[in-house]
Symmetry: D2
Subunit: 142 residues, 4 copies
């Protein structure tokens, strides 16, 4: 049976930190997007192919909520845990949690609402094959 | 009387865009932070002085909610409108709205909860002088 | 007569700094590109129009040299000085200097070689009108 | 015998690309710095420990040359090859080459000159143990 949480490792580099000595807050959204990309790639879906195919479609972030619980620091090894909460005709809702790898402490909690759109920005139906793949990952909302 | 909304202009450059042809979603958090920095600077508060003063304190983002309504594109001139919703002993809550300058259309709505912390990450009381300055800006929650 | 050096102001924000307390080195390339964009915009050239017009063309960075003389820090107000060194059929060479605004001290010196390309990456001839505009700005090489 | 070239894999994500559909040029400097960090970590040196130890020291980029040969695109898997060219008392010179993993084509060539400095920006002697480790990696200049 498919696991319900996708796990993706991220290392903190200088580029990610700020003069306060910690990871700059918007960078966690980048980490989260890397993790979603690898999750989608793991399902056999190429975002670049979606983008370059006739007309072009993409998952776009429609909404996000972020709770910054503790800071990550230079050299930290993190893991991003991603679960799917709900899949609709043109949208997907995910829960993501960024933790320190060594002790599992949760640093940032992110909720993301993705819309599926054409490159001109219009909502598009998520292909059934992709929706089914996501459906296998749905877990309970926290 | 003090205006209730701080306005800050931002231009979209190549560095801000992604292969979808629009501004990458996490970049709006950077725009929002630039606007808050200028708002605070306008009140006569230097974040660098807070950071470098004995021990060091800073405003840290504790939580954020983001609604992405429409995309910004390369070369767009935007304006970030910032209002303060509430000021507590160790936290500030703000509403920020990013609009296209030419037609005023709202692109992104951001709610931000800031905590005041020491560099070691412990909550600190916002100095009364700063709290009073913020208090003058409080507006109704949307 | 046209001035020979284009001047563009940049403010350093938290997003630009790293855990060493200074501006992260690659960020200066972003500052330099913002300045070139505004210089080009000042000549009446829209990069977005070039990009979206049939086929699409853009200036792409082909090469760069960077000398980091002194660090910029949080809250610093900088200015980017840009001069054109040479204009060819499909390339432009520029000198850029990033200085602190208050005392004029040079922090970073950047040499940039731009190529004019189609979106598929092939070299393209710079339109004569644009080449002439750039030609007016040519100055002695340092 | 120690290998002469350090190899580090990098995946291209949306955050790295721009509206031209390719990786934004300054991002390659970030990739290069990640690779140097892992090379140094592989030698048993923690940059965070150097930074946090009494006074604090760090390797800072003093100069760089970049040749952009071909663009990387969304989803590309790249590898950064790093070799050390020379080690001095307070500086290190490296050659870095960014290639596509699947066909080995070179995309970007970077030369970097690092200085070893205190957090106040003064040059510092590289500890002999670190210098020796780097010395084992020296290779011929291209």
């Amino acid at each position: 049976m498919t696991p319900r949480v996708h796990v993706f490792p991220v290392r903190v580099y200088f580029e990610d930190t700020d003069a306060g000595g910690i990871v700059y807050h918007s960078v966690y959204l980048n980490y989260a997007e890397r993790a979603r990309t690898e999750m989608v790639r793991g399902l056999g879906i190429s975002q670049r192919a979606l983008l370059e195919r006739g007309g072009g479609t993409a998952f776009a972030v429609r909404g996000a909520t972020m709770d910054f619980l503790r800071p990550a620091r230079l050299d930290d090894l993190l893991r991003v845990e991603t679960g799917i909460v709900a899949v609709g005709g043109a949208s997907v809702e995910l829960d993501q949690s960024i933790r320190r790898e060594d002790d599992g402490v949760e640093l940032v909690r992110i909720g993301v609402r993705l819309g599926y759109i054409t490159l001109s920005g219009k909502p598009a139906r998520i292909p059934a094959a992709i929706r089914d793949l996501f459906g296998n990952w749905i877990r309970e909302r926290r």
